[in-house]
């Protein structure tokens, strides 16, 4: 069996990385984008649903949080939406990972280079591993 197919398909190998014309911010900017679980979650969601209304995104982020903190109501929802709209999405937009249209209430993921997608998946996976082992993930 080919060694490459033995690997979990989570990561591509550096040899196969193609940046093409896709978005690939400098490391400092990329890691700033990933600093903070909220933004990691946002990026993970966008990898699956590259275009999403901010309200739907907020639903998912709030829901995600309930698997850790228990049930959430409209107050938590409003709080998280404010965070997304005023902090996280503008920052991700500045770095060039997403296009955030505040007026229309929509977010679109820019075409990300493979290694950028890998790093996002890695960050999410790493948080899960920490979580599973009972270590602090924040």
């Amino acid at each position: 069996m080919d060694r490459d197919t033995d690997r979990p398909d989570l990561f591509t190998t550096a040899d196969s990385w193609e940046l093409a014309d896709d978005v690939a911010p400098p490391p400092t900017a990329l890691f700033k984008a990933l600093a903070g679980p909220r933004r990691c979650h946002v990026l993970s969601v966008l990898l699956d649903r590259p275009e999403i209304a901010v309200d739907d995104l907020t639903d998912i982020i709030v829901g995600w949080q309930t698997t850790i903190d228990g049930p959430a109501g409209p107050d938590e929802w409003a709080q998280i939406k404010i965070e997304l709209v005023h902090a996280h999405l503008p920052l991700l937009d500045d770095i060039g990972l997403v296009e955030f249209d505040d007026q229309a209430g929509e977010v679109r993921l820019e075409p990300l280079a493979d290694p950028v997608q890998d790093v996002i998946r890695f960050a999410e996976e790493y948080e899960r591993v920490l979580d599973r082992s009972g270590r602090p993930s924040e």
Binding site: D55, T58, I60, W64, G70
Partner: protein, 236 residues
């Protein structure tokens, strides 16, 4: 008796529940929830997300969200029973609020009995107001007769009992109970208890269950004073 109108009204106010679950894990749950007063949609979740959750919306309004794991333990009759809704962990308050307006759920006799005891107990503790109880079968009434007489005799509760006209015992002495009779096709169909709260609307509660097949009930139980009042009106 126009309970079906109440059921219809509840039906009009359907909420939307979006189940986000990795793979098909949420399908079974979606099926269980569809028995409730809600439209259920299922959406995939990023594989990296830790577990499923659901989001409840009413029109375009976010009402609440909770983890599937929490919902399953909440729905499990061994962990929570309806009368414990007041005492549940405050973390569950949003769940209760979500389901509280009107719980529309498939129940078996054991759960109905448990819920009935809770409503009787609540009425007894308040000690005033009106308690209305409908019995589908004569035997069910006979079994509870003394309890209800005592309830009416030892408190200021006004206890109304609804019986099928063809099952009222001969030479029946209602004592402190007010007895109403109705045709089998209405009274015989429902198992119900309505307590108006005795002036305290926080204590109002109702259980109305319709037997859909022998031993299985489609029920509505609520702590919403308006729904309780509507149910009482539909009895007259």
């Amino acid at each position: 008796m126009q309970f079906h109108r109440l059921f219809d009204a509840v039906d009009d106010a359907r909420k939307t529940i979006v189940v986000y679950a990795p793979t098909d894990a949420g399908l079974d749950l979606a099926e269980r929830l569809s028995a409730r007063n809600a439209t259920v949609e299922q959406r995939a979740l990023p594989l990296s997300a830790p577990g499923g959750f659901l989001v409840v919306r009413d029109d375009d309004q976010f009402l609440g969200a909770l983890a599937l794991e929490d919902l399953l333990s909440f729905l499990s009759p061994t962990e929570f029973l309806p009368w414990e809704l007041d005492d549940v962990d405050p973390g569950y308050r949003p769940v209760v609020d979500l389901l509280d307006d009107t719980l529309f759920v498939s129940l078996d006799r054991r759960q109905l009995l448990a819920t009935s005891r809770e409503i009787e107990d609540r009425a007894w503790r308040v000690g005033r107001g009106t308690l209305r109880v409908g019995f589908q079968r004569r035997a069910a009434f006979e079994a509870q007769r003394e309890t209800y007489r005592r309830l009416a005799a030892t408190t200021d509760l006004d206890v109304h009992v609804y019986l099928r006209e063809d099952t009222v015992p001969e030479a029946f002495d209602p004592g402190p109970l007010t007895v109403h009779t109705g045709p089998a096709e209405t009274v015989g169909r429902y198992w119900f208890l309505l307590f108006d709260g005795g002036g305290n609307e926080w204590q109002a509660c109702a259980l109305i269950a319709e037997e859909t097949e022998p031993g299985r009930y489609r029920g509505l139980w609520t702590y919403d004073p308006e729904t309780v009042a509507l149910a009482a009106e539909s009895l007259s």
